[in-house]
């Protein structure tokens, strides 16, 4: 079995599972409780928060736990809109964001906010000059992803940070769900960023857990109100086994980040070098530093993406159409559409997404299967 769909979800790491089980069985109290069970749980909660903060080089109080990437994105986008509505109603984002950002923007548009969707180039990247040109006196938020989940392009985050340098009242949010552990920490944790979204299950932590980084002093209205957990900013009994597991998963990933990245890049290159010369193949991810090491998106002209996915599946290789979220809709990829890829090509796109456990041998197997399938598709289409 070859699992090449790590951008959809990753398998929980064995040692993370151990942590999860141990905490579930031993430290299951409610961290808000005042008694011993609660104190132990609260202690582990803050220890996990400290560990994550240390790994990322930020302050303890800047890490806030959520139920995942979707909640983090919803919270930063809508929480900014609510917090800053007296100051303005204009928001700038890209046209290739994850639905968690995009659909939050659409909801705000219905409530009277004005959203500027920046165009992208053929690599799926916005330009900082476009950000600068879009800024107005009533702009309250710029929200741009670190790494696109469908094609893997890295946004020019430092250039955008530079544009926003003398605009301190605008919140700058980065959706880093696909960007953590991919060798670009200096782009994500830049001097100007205010909020960053992370999701645990994309880096071998359990489902249903994530966190946001919120720069000290930057205010966000809560999305979830109630018992006042997470410094009164995110209510709901804390999911401690998953939080402790996530802290461990983050450490595992970051302590080997450069090796992981080198491996993923090599595996991706092996596949890319092989498929790029086939006449019916169109590459959307390029082997340059504008792209993350773990995502390769390409199309085989004349074959639907879903057909390609199932054909690989018959050989026990798991890839996806462009994103898990859009794969059920049989729709053209929104990122590819924004990149002005014609629909007859974009509906033929598939995504290979890697993690540190994938190997060159798996890439070779993939390439062999690719050859067979390519021949089959050619026969069917001729």
């Amino acid at each position: 079995m070859i699992y090449f769909d790590n951008s959809a979800t990753t398998k929980v790491a064995p040692s993370v599972l151990e942590t999860y089980q141990k905490v579930s069985e031993q430290i299951w109290g409610n961290p808000s409780s005042l008694h011993n069970f609660g104190e132990q749980a609260d202690h582990l909660l803050e220890q996990s928060r400290q560990q994550i903060a240390d790994l990322l080089g930020v302050n303890l109080s800047e890490i806030l736990f959520t139920s995942g990437g979707t909640e983090g994105d919803n919270w930063v986008v809508k929480g900014t809109a609510m917090e800053k509505r007296a100051f303005g109603r204009h928001i700038i984002t890209s046209s290739v964001e994850h639905p968690a950002v995009h659909n939050s923007m659409e909801q705000l548009a219905q409530l009277g906010y004005e959203i500027t969707y920046l165009p992208v180039d053929e690599e799926g990247r916005v330009s900082a000059a476009d950000v600068a040109a879009a800024i107005r006196p009533d702009t309250i938020l710029v929200s741009v992803m670190a790494v696109n989940n469908e094609v893997g392009s890295i946004q020019p985050l430092l250039e955008i940070a530079d544009v926003l340098k003398d605009k301190p009242t605008i919140h700058f949010h980065i959706d880093a769900v696909q960007g953590i552990g991919k060798g670009i920490p200096e782009l994500i944790f830049n001097d100007r960023v205010d909020f960053i979204t992370f999701s645990g299950h994309k880096f071998h932590a359990p489902r249903g857990i994530g966190f946001i980084y919120a720069r000290a002093g930057k205010r966000l209205a809560p999305l979830m109100t109630g018992g006042g957990q997470e410094r009164n900013l995110r209510s709901g009994t804390e999911n401690l086994p998953a939080i402790a597991g996530m802290a461990r998963a983050l450490r595992l990933m970051l302590e080997n980040e450069s090796d992981n990245v080198a491996n993923e890049r090599a595996v991706r290159q092996r596949i890319l070098d092989h498929v790029k010369d086939f006449p019916k193949v169109t590459l959307f991810s390029q082997p340059n530093d504008h792209f993350a090491p773990h995502i390769l998106c390409f199309a085989i002209e004349g074959v639907r993406g879903e057909t390609i996915v199932h054909a690989f599946e018959d050989h026990d290789i798991y890839i996806s159409t462009t994103s898990a979220c859009s794969s059920k809709k049989h729709l053209a990829s929104s990122t590819l559409t924004a990149m002005k890829v014609p629909e007859q090509v974009s509906t033929s796109a598939v995504r290979v997404s890697l993690d540190e456990n994938n190997t060159l041998a798996e890439a070779d197997t993939f390439n062999d299967v690719f050859d067979q399938l390519y021949e089959q598709f050619k026969k069917i289409n001729s």
Partner: protein, 390 residues
Amino acid sequence: MDHIYLDNAATTPMSDEVVATMMDQMQHDFGNASSVHAFGRKARAVLDDSRHVIANSIHAKDDEIVFTAGGTESNNTVWMQTATVRRDLGRRIITTAIEHESIMKTANWLAHNGYDVVYLPVNEEGSINLDDLKAALTDDTILVSIMTGNNEVGSTMPIHEIGELLQDHQAWFHTDAVQAYGLLDIDVNRDHIDLLSTSAHKINGPKQMGFLFRREGIDFPSFMKGGDQEDKRRAGTENIPAIAGFATAVTALTADEKAHRQAKYASFKQYVVDGLTKAGVDFEINGSLRPDNLQHVLNLWIKGVENDVTLTNLDLAGVAVSAGSACTAGSLDPSHVLVAMFGKDNPRVMQSIRLSFGRYTTTADLDSFINALTAMTQRLNASANEQEAN
């Protein structure tokens, strides 16, 4: 020292079978249910099976169950989305003065943003009067949100009567059943419930997992925007291991098992009351020993002893109880539930503690509690007498 846990309304430990289910899911079936390949389809099957088990538990249809990140999210979703989508039909929302914080805080926010929120009073048993609801109900009421059972005193509300009353009214009927779900027979059709919130970690399931029952035809946009998961009603990659764990926890709660627990916890309550009486502790029950209450919660006024003193003493003796709900426990504000029942000037509001029983509670635990509390009150009385003598 063995620690005794009598705070099951705050949270419960996961049962062994729930942990086993979740570990198995995380090790073997880790697909994203939205993926079209075999991993995704397997995950989808687990999701569908779990939904079926859970729908059955409240007599709902499968597609009326939306998985969420827990009780807080379910409650926030109902209030915020109903307020938004129905604002043209009216601005009045009726609730009680003793709801959980996830409703109280959301209600306060809406009250400050143009909504007319009515908080129904409660009597000294901690329940509402149906006539108060009838009096508050206007044509432009859009939501009635009344908890099934209270988390601090265990009182239950006349859910069936409320459901009947609202049957021909435009208002949607929501009930927060987080505390009641593991003990009462809930039937959303019998009781004409439109929306219902639950939480898995109160029934030996995982934290940050719950569901929202949304009756067919009740339509509002997703609170969490993003992918099309949960039939476009809750975005975010499905937390399948936790969902499967939740279903495992629900499977253990058959009608018989729930009735058995209610009876067992009722006898626990009586045991504590008898034990403390025999030991000469000066106390009173906040609420009542009514048989239709949630029997896992027992709230006691320990006369003359501030609750922080009691909590500290019990904790040192290795017994975990709480004052009010866990969420507000960090603050020393009086419980809003006790204030609603007795008024803010009543000494009870700062001198009461909550015990809550669970699957693993034994009478030996109750003995430990009774002994620790008795020892404390005797010590306090002795030192008070000494001071008086001096």
